[in-house]
Every structure is written in structure tokens, then in C-alpha cells.
Symmetry: C2
Subunit: 280 residues, 2 copies
């Protein structure tokens, strides 16, 4: 039976550490979030970020813009935050409405204030194993979890399922930078289970409920579930068939309470780190 990785407890502990460290400074770290439109899930996410920032004693700025805001007006808002020396970290909540070019928006955020690490020059630094300001939140959270459980990735066969710009792609590069042998699978992969069965560490970020079954996983593998989908009964489910897979794995993350709580924790760490870089 696997050790169940407790993301909630790790997140709580790390947030406490961040709070204690932030208290050492006279000035307070400031996180600015821009949200466009009325997407209910986005509103919840932004409110959680706001609340957590305030709990840590950070300053929080939330700018809410209407669904039909123009790209030019949104860019102006970002530039205002770029130029405001009291703002340390900027995040534009995704997804953006279709009439706005998200790639262009992410490029507008000053790389030194890019809380999510989505600016291409920041992504590129991860890709060449260069010096970065901060790492993207969810991949960073996954590596923090592994660290907490003293699981090293070096020399391990790590299989990442999913190639999003938010999780799969940057995570693969960060694992490679830590000397893992990395395979990236996705919707066009043939014989997925043959590949997942080779994984010492299997990380799924596909958003496909319970599709990773027991027979797709090697005995004693480490299983990290980034998927989170709500079924018709409102119940949250990960990519992994948890109840069955946990029997033969060595470590496994539950959904909810595994990777989920780590993302916001990384965001707060990034805000503090950017604040420190700007106040050196």
C-alpha cells in the first residue's frame, strides 16, 4: 500500500514558512492579479489567491475588467502594474476571452514581475537550464512535494502525460534540469500504457478522469496526479484510478488534497522571491 502524499499538510507548512520569512521585512510583498470577465471558476481562483496573500500579510491588488475589454486597454493595465514599483508580482488569470491574444498579453508582463513564469523569455530560460526569476507554480509545487517526501528524480525514468504550457511542458524541462530521463506523452501518443509502465515516476496532467488504471503502472512506482475534473455528481476526480492504483504504488497523491494545494503555495513563494529580488 502506497504512502499517500499529503499536499494539504505540506502546503500549510510551507505557507507558514513564507509568512514567517515575509514578516522579517518592513515592506510587504505585493501580488497584483488581473481578471477579465465573469468566469465563475476564475473568480474563485482569484479570490483564493487574494485571501491567501492577505493571510500571509502581503498586499493584494485585484483588477477586474469587463468581458469586452479591448486588448489595448488590458495591455495598458499591465503596463501600469509593470511601472508601479510597489507591485512585485503580476498574474493575469487565464483563460482570457477569445478576442484577446493570450500570447501577446503574457509577453507584456515584465519578466521580473512574472509571477506565473509564462513570459516566453522566462520559459526559454527554463528550457536552456538558465538562471530564472521564479518557476511556474504547478510544476514548482510538484517538485516541492517530491522534495518534502525526499524523492529524488535524478536518473529516474519520469513519464509526464500531458503537454500543456501550464504544466506538462515546463515540468518536463524542470525534471530534465534535475537529471531525470523524461518522456512526454499526450493525446497523439500510441501505446500509452507501454510507456507509462516504464515510469519510475508517473505524472499525469491530462484532465481525463481515472483513465490511468492499475495495469498501466509499474509496481512500486511513484504516482503524481495533476488532473482535476468534476464529475456529474459534483465530485472531484483526478487522472488516476486512485483506489486501485494505490495498492501497488510506493507513493501517490490524492485528488483533492495532493498537488492542488501546492499551486497557490508556489505563487506565494514566487511573490516573496520576486519581492526579495526587487528589494536587494
Amino acid at each position: 500500500m502506497a504512502v499517500i502524499i499529503d499536499g494539504k499538510a505540506v502546503s500549510k507548512k510551507l505557507l507558514e514558512q513564507i509568512k514567517n520569512e515575509a514578516e522579517l521585512y518592513e515592506k510587504k510583498p505585493c501580488l497584483a492579479v488581473i481578471i477579465v470577465g465573469n468566469d465563475a471558476a476564475s473568480k474563485i481562483y482569484v479570490n483564493n489567491k487574494r485571501k491567501t496573500a492577505l493571510e500571509l500579510g502581503f498586499k493584494s491588488i485585484v483588477t477586474e475588467l469587463p468581458e469586452d475589454v479591448t486588448e489595448t486597454a488590458l495591455i495598458k493595465e499591465i503596463e501600469k502594474l509593470n511601472n508601479d514599483t510597489t507591485v512585485n508580482a503580476i498574474l493575469v488569470q487565464l483563460p482570457l476571452p477569445k478576442h484577446i491574444n493570450s500570447a501577446k498579453i503574457l509577453e507584456t508582463i515584465k519578466p521580473e514581475k512574472d509571477a506565473d513564469c509564462f513570459h516566453p523569455s522566462n520559459v526559454g530560460k527554463i528550457a536552456v537550464n538558465g538562471k530564472v526569476f521564479v518557476y511556474p507554480c504547478t510544476p514548482k509545487g510538484i517538485l516541492s512535494l517530491l522534495d518534502e517526501y525526499k524523492i529524488s528524480v535524478a536518473g529516474k525514468n519520469v513519464v509526464v502525460v500531458g503537454r500543456s504550457n501550464i504544466v506538462g511542458r515546463p515540468l518536463a524541462m524542470m525534471l530534465l534540469n534535475k537529471d531525470a530521463t523524461v518522456t512526454i506523452c499526450h493525446s497523439k501518443t500510441k501505446n500509452l500504457s507501454e510507456i507509462t509502465k516504464q515510469a519510475d515516476i508517473l505524472i499525469s496532467a491530462a484532465g481525463n478522469p481515472k483513465f490511468i488504471k492499475k495495469d498501466m503502472v509499474k509496481d512500486r512506482a511513484i504516482i503524481i496526479d495533476v488532473g482535476i475534473t468534476r464529475d456529474s455528481n459534483g465530485k472531484l476526480s483526478g487522472d488516476i484510478d486512485f483506489e486501485n492504483v494505490k495498492e501497488n504504488s510506493s507513493y501517490i497523491t490524492p485528488v483533492p488534497g495532493g498537488v492542488g494545494p501546492m499551486t497557490i503555495c508556489s505563487l506565494m513563494q514566487n511573490t516573496l522571491d520576486l519581492f526579495k529580488l526587487q528589494n536587494k
Copy 2:
């Protein structure tokens, strides 16, 4: 017995096409190369780039700087080329002397003139499958070779051995963008041959002469050899044990005459493409 992929012939054909296309324009594409110091191999590479550019009717600028040039002086030279509207493509020959921060130099080149695609914001765009100006030369050359032989990578298991910033890393991302299932191996990979044996397409860019043996390769696999090392007798050798591996592969590149001639071909294509973007 494998089809031997003829990089020399493909390169010749593509260079001819580039020349014909460039002749359609009144203005001429201009490639500027900066070389620092007296490294013999670098001098040969730069001279080949110069000669090929001139053969295609391009304008060539080669700036030679002494080994002890300061970082500041080198940056000034790059900025001069950045601001010169008659220069379309800029390349700083690597490696640079140790007292110069290469990462900083590559970031100084204007992304729109970055002939090698080494600027982090350009690398980042590959990493997120975004819109790029041009692709890095050797990975682009490999994909051109595969295209010429009508070999598709989509859905195939592609194993890349080597994680350099010049070949392995950007190539892996470009393959992923073309729907390959990609595994990146390197010096810290355990059980390398177990992984290479799964490859439908095996691409080695390790610089380790003849270390990929017949028993490390699947029957009928496609083998691409990016390694190039000169042995004590002055003979060039690739990463692949060519004579033995070719027996059971479906396609294989020789060394020399495989991937090698493609890199300069990509550089010329990039120069023309950047010229066109700047003269739209």
C-alpha cells in the same frame, strides 16, 4: 539494409532553392557573424558560413574580435548590428572565451534578428509551441531531412540522446510540437539501451563516437546521427556504429554527409526568412 539518408544532396537542393528565391528580391539578405578569438574550428565554421552566404548572393559581414575583448565591447558590437537596418540576421559564433557570459550575449541579440534562435524569448516560444521567427539551425536541419524523405514523426516514439541547448533540448520541443512522443536521454540516464530500443526514431547528439551499437536499436528503426567527433587518426565518426547498425535500420544518416551539411542550409534559410519578415 537501410536507406542511407543523403544530407549532402538534400542540402545542395535546398541551397539552390534558397538562392533562386533570394534572386527574386532587389535587396539582398544580409547575415552578420561575430567571432571572438582564434579557435581554429570556429574560424573554419565562420568561413564556411561566409562563403555559402556569398554563393547565394547574400551580403556577409564578419566581425572578428580579439580573444581578450571585454563583454561590454562585444555587447556594443551586437547593438550596432541590432540597430543597422541593412543587417537581417545576427549570429555570435560559440563557444565564447570564459570571461564572457554567453547567456547574456545571446540575450543581447534582437530576437527578430536571431539567426540561431538562441535568445531565451525565442527558445521559450518553441517551448510553448508559439509563433517563432525562425528555428535553431541543427534541429531545423534534422526535421528538413526527415521531411525530404517523407518520414513523419507524429505519434512515433522518438528518443533524443543528448540535452544540449544547441540540439537536444530545442529538438525535443520541436518534435513534441509535431506530435511525437519524445524521450530525452543524457549522461545521467540509467539503462540507456532499454530506452533506445523502444525508439521508432532514434536521434543521437551526444558526441560519443560509435557508442550506439546494433543491440541498442530496434529493428527497422530510423537512425539520425548528430554526433561528430574526430578520432586520433583524424577520421570523423558519429555517435552510431554505422556499419553494424545500418543492417537492421530502415533509414540512417552517415557521418559525414548526413546531418552535418543541413545546419548551414538552415542558417541560410533563416537569414532569408528574417530578411523577408523585415521587408514585408
